[in-house]
Amino acid sequence: MSVDTATVAKIASLSRIKMTDAEVAAMVPELNGILAWVEQLSEVDVTGIEPMTAVIPNTQRLREDVVNADPLTGGNMRDAVLANAPAAEHGFFGVPKVIE
């Protein structure tokens, strides 16, 4: 499978990465080179093979059902959570207007 300019522009949009037409055009051969190379995977016989989901067998754990069981990842951390925000306002993350 290969991609064209329109497809790359769509991928850029899905990825939320703004790209100029020139950048999209430059990316087309790069992605096609990589996609042509990974294409060799299709020759592998995978009949009856389940896709890997966990590389080392492990069990899902649940945390204790307690408020602030771990103070580091619990609540009441508003200021720490907002400390690195580019635009924190009134205790919230500030973003451009989304409702006209």
């Binding site: 497809t7 949009s13 790209m19 990589i34 592998v44 771990d70």
Partner: protein, 494 residues
């Protein structure tokens, strides 16, 4: 007195404990070495001499008060800038995180500080750990301390842990943390003549480590020798309830149980790793390694890992797929860079921020990942890659029914010059050909220095072990190290 910067973890720890020198003297010596090298090597993004001195002062005070000292007491280390450090800028070498000061400490770095280590600074790396030469950092290339004879051309320190490898090889840090997604500890260790181990997936907590590909990312130590790696890994490893894939297992006493005696052990030599057109020096160093392990008492067994050639293409679907998902968090809202063009809405802000913040290789991988996960292509690419990954893991499981460890080269060549491979992403990816299979299978693997090639540059040998058998890997590494007698170090030009 010996130059303190010539010492590794075990020697520093012992010297401090015995009162031969103080932790403060050690920190001062390494701080000076870091400052002197920074302009030429660019190994650090941020230096934190005061952190190294504060930790050292605490160790000296504890010793004076007769308190027990930790396993890393008095050892100043470099911290790869992928680990969140409380109040100290953490960037993953990307502009999108410039200025980000975490409000918490990663589990691995916290364990190291608790054990008495101090921080010399945050080490440079490939942006978001995506690269094999340290040329994708937004904070400039790291320059290897190694040079070819009579040639000043700057060489790659390997990647992504290139700041770590350079710092240890240049003796400006006795040890450093690394992370390994497809070879990012082992390949830079091989390029710079140092040792490094990636433990079994889940040994070291990923909590507070900037995520690249979560099913592959593993932290590990990079140090001068195998013993130092064992000591540091003991401190870094351990169960962490804050990481859902953390292994709930005790941490073995790897350093106390080190033994280079390979009697009764079987070492597998995978025939598929012997590539057509293999660099003759790499092939020779592999043969040397086989002879050394035989000399240590091991039996050599030829094995087959039939799906080896598919590991790299599978990796370059799986890792970008996970990256495209993980890196969705960089949106200009919660932390890091925000680019808000005049009159832009929320969606435009996301796109502008990510365009301005991510480097070209990061964008490339996000886009590949987005494509292979998109509707209509998911099964053909992603599901197929995960099936192939299962086959690669099965190859290893079958091989380990016959052998205890596997020996292979770490990388297909010695260090290349900066710029030599950066024009073609595919050529760069091929550098991980020997390291990626163990990553896909989650297995412990380490690189130890084997010797120098015809141009006087280090080559590494890789030992791959069974899941949870870091001891077997370290022991084989020790047997190689004892026989390689690798004492070469870069001549100081910085």
């Amino acid at each position: 007195m010996t130059d303190l910067t010539d010492l590794g973890i075990a020697a520093i720890r012992k010297g401090v404990a015995d009162g031969e020198f103080s932790a403060t003297e050690v920190a001062t010596a390494f701080n000076a070495a870091v400052a002197e090298a920074q302009g030429a090597l660019n190994a650090f993004i941020v230096t934190t001499p005061e952190k190294a001195l504060d930790a050292a002062a605490k160790v000296d005070a504890d010793r004076a008060a007769g308190k027990p000292l930790g396993k890393m007491a008095g050892v100043p280390i470099g911290m790869k800038d992928l680990f969140a450090t409380h109040g100290v800028q953490t960037t993953a070498a990307s502009k999108i995180l410039e200025g980000f000061k975490p409000q918490y400490e990663s589990t691995v770095s916290a364990k190291l500080w608790d054990a008495g280590a101090g921080m010399l600074g945050k080490l440079n790396l490939d942006q978001f750990a995506m690269g094999s030469s340290n040329e994708t950092s937004a904070f400039g290339n790291v320059i290897s301390p190694w040079r070819r004879p009579n040639d000043t051309a700057p060489l790659a320190p390997g990647g992504s842990s290139g700041g770590s490898s350079t710092a240890v090889a240049a003796r400006i840090a006795p040890a450093a943390t690394g992370t390994d997604t497809g070879g990012s500890i082992r390949q830079p260790a091989a390029f710079t003549g140092i040792a490094g181990i990636k433990p079994t997936y889940g040994r070291c907590s990923r909590w507070g480590v900037v995520a690249f590909a979560s099913s592959l990312d593993q932290a590990g130590p990079m140090a001068r020798d195998v013993t130092d790696c064992a000591i540091m890994l003991e401190v870094m490893a351990g169960f962490d309830p804050k990481d859902s894939t953390s292994l709930d297992m005790p941490v073995p006493a790897w350093s106390a149980n080190l033994s280079g005696d390979m009697k009764g052990k079987k070492v597998g030599i995978p025939r598929e790793y012997r590539l057509d057109g293999m660099d003759p020096d790499v092939a020779k160093s592999w043969d040397d390694g086989i002879a050394w392990l035989k000399d240590a008492g091991a039996e050599i067994v030829e094995i087959s890992l039939p799906h080896t050639k598919y590991a790299l293409p599978a990796y370059y679907i799986i890792a970008p797929a996970e990256a495209s998902s993980n890196l969705a968090r960089y949106d200009g809202v919660r932390y890091g860079l925000r680019d808000l063009p005049d009159g832009a809405g929320l969606q435009d802000m996301y796109a502008a921020t990510r365009a301005a913040g991510f480097g070209p290789e990061v964008k490339r991988r996000i886009m590949i990942g987005t494509y292979v996960l998109s509707a209509g292509f998911y099964d053909a690419y992603y599901t197929q890659a995960q099936k192939v990954r299962a086959l690669i893991a099965r190859d290893f499981t079958r091989a380990f029914e016959q052998v205890d460890v596997i020996l292979a080269p770490t990388a297909p060549s010695s260090a290349f010059a900066l710029g030599e491979k950066s024009a073609d992403p595919l050529e760069m990816y091929l550098n991980d050909v020997f390291s990626v299979p163990a990553s896909l299978a989650g297995l412990p693997a380490m690189s130890v220095p084997a010797g120098l090639d015809r141009s006087g540059l280090p080559l590494g040998l890789q030992v791959i072990g069974k899941a949870f058998d870091e001891q077997g890997v370290l022991n084989a590494g020790l047997a190689l190290e004892a026989r390689a007698g690798f004492t070469a170090r870069p001549e100081k030009w910085w």
